[in-house]
């Protein structure tokens, strides 16, 4: 229950929404799906700006870029053919893994998921390896690379309006591999590999687990780049994952266990990319 909530504004344009946020700073928040806010029982917020009327529920292709509006529901990302076709479907799969409950995915939005996630975000991780950007409206409109956005504490009164995913190079394959423990996701590895003449040209690998910000595994990326993309090389890369990935222990699993399973997650994701590559021949 939001016990002190007095008013919900429904702006019809982005400038209107920004003006409301500026005028009422302090106890005002943005709401789209609102599932996270209502779960937390916030007693401070007095006013909400509902941005679902801003027509930010879309997924478009434009000049090779994929643009996804901030209020696009997660379930739309799961189901839409566009998202299933994008990057071997990792955005769709990541959206599905975001919440076990379809009822929550029906209402939760992409923007809400990115702004409020505190740990294990498969969507963040997938968008990170796809080198997505987020577009923020407010003052000067600007775009931020996903890794910079991830490290920002707040948007300084701005509004996340869309996520932009760049076109993938030819022969680029992506995959994610989650690891579950008693039905709950423990960690998830996301990879994107670009090949040329069966050699790895570009590798982007990240694991999301206990932290809000997924860990990029730069050492493995450097190890893979320039090498033939074979099961033997993948095995060595996965060994390195367990060394480079530094999680924390929590009530679900110890740090050591997470490190151990990171090996199989990275290996599985890389092998899926190899499968995609072989079936594309």
């Amino acid at each position: 229950m939001l016990s002190n909530l007095k008013n919900v504004f429904r702006p019809k344009s982005i400038p209107q929404a920004l003006a409301l946020l500026e005028k009422n700073s302090g106890s005002i928040l943005i709401i789209a799906g609102g599932t996270k806010l209502l779960q937390t029982k916030n007693n401070i917020v007095q006013e909400l700006v509902d941005i679902t009327g801003l027509e930010l529920n879309y997924m478009n292709d434009e000049d090779g870029l994929t643009r996804i509006g901030a209020t696009t529901p997660l379930q739309k990302l799961v189901e839409s053919q566009k998202s299933k076709n994008l990057a071997n479907g990792i955005v769709s799969q990541a959206a599905q893994l975001s919440h076990r409950s379809k009822m929550i995915r029906n209402v939760s939005t992409l923007g809400g998921e990115l702004v409020t996630t505190s740990s294990l975000s498969t969507l963040y991780c997938a968008l990170l390896v796809l080198q997505a950007q987020v577009r923020i409206a407010g003052g000067e409109e600007f775009a931020l690379a996903m890794n910079i956005f991830l490290n920002k504490k707040n948007l300084g009164g701005g509004l996340l309006v869309e996520v932009i995913i760049p076109a993938m190079e030819p022969q680029t394959y992506a995959a994610l591999a989650p690891v579950f423990h008693t039905g709950k996701p423990l960690l998830c590895a996301c990879v994107r590999i670009s090949l040329s003449k069966r050699k790895c040209q570009i590798a982007k690998i990240a694991i999301t687990s206990t932290e809000r910000v997924p860990q990029r595994l730069h050492t493995i990326e450097e190890y893979l780049e320039g090498k033939p993309f074979t099961p033997a090389i993948i095995e060595t890369a996965a060994d390195k994952a367990a060394e480079q990935f530094i999680p924390i222990s929590d009530s679900l699993a110890s740090k050591e266990y997470r490190q151990e399973v990171s090996h199989s997650a990275v290996k599985k994701a890389l092998l899926k990319c190899l499968d995609h590559a072989e079936s594309a021949i």
Binding site: L2, N7, G34, T35, S101
Partner: protein
Amino acid sequence: MKISLTINNRKKTLDVPANQTLMDLLRAQGLWSVKHGCETGDCGNCTVIAGGLAVNSCIMLAVQANGKAITTFEGVREKSGFSPVKETLMDFGDSDCGFCIPGMLMSMKALLDKISDPTEEELVDALAGNLCRCTQSVKPVQAILEAIKKIQGKW
């Protein structure tokens, strides 16, 4: 705040407090099938259909339902096609207390409204947010799968 919505095919204009949840609004209208469980979106006992989608009404504000068509279990129980579902649930002896059943059936209805012949995987996914404390959800899911076969798209 003034909102206009349709509840079980009846148009309504209501004055609601900004912080009232859709679950509280519906229960205040006497729609007791909307069960008050966890209030955190974890159990699915409060599931209703809003704008064609199954939602947790406990984590949605009533003002967010403005302009939407809301369906609760009261709105479907008299529908033809429901009897075989009810019989199958009874045959399977699927429920103890029955608290979870209206929410599960609303998730099932939202799925069947879109896909008349869902796969087991689609049904399990649709019901993943509906928890049954008594039976661990195994029996209700089996019963609903069986019921879907019986009604064969006549829902």
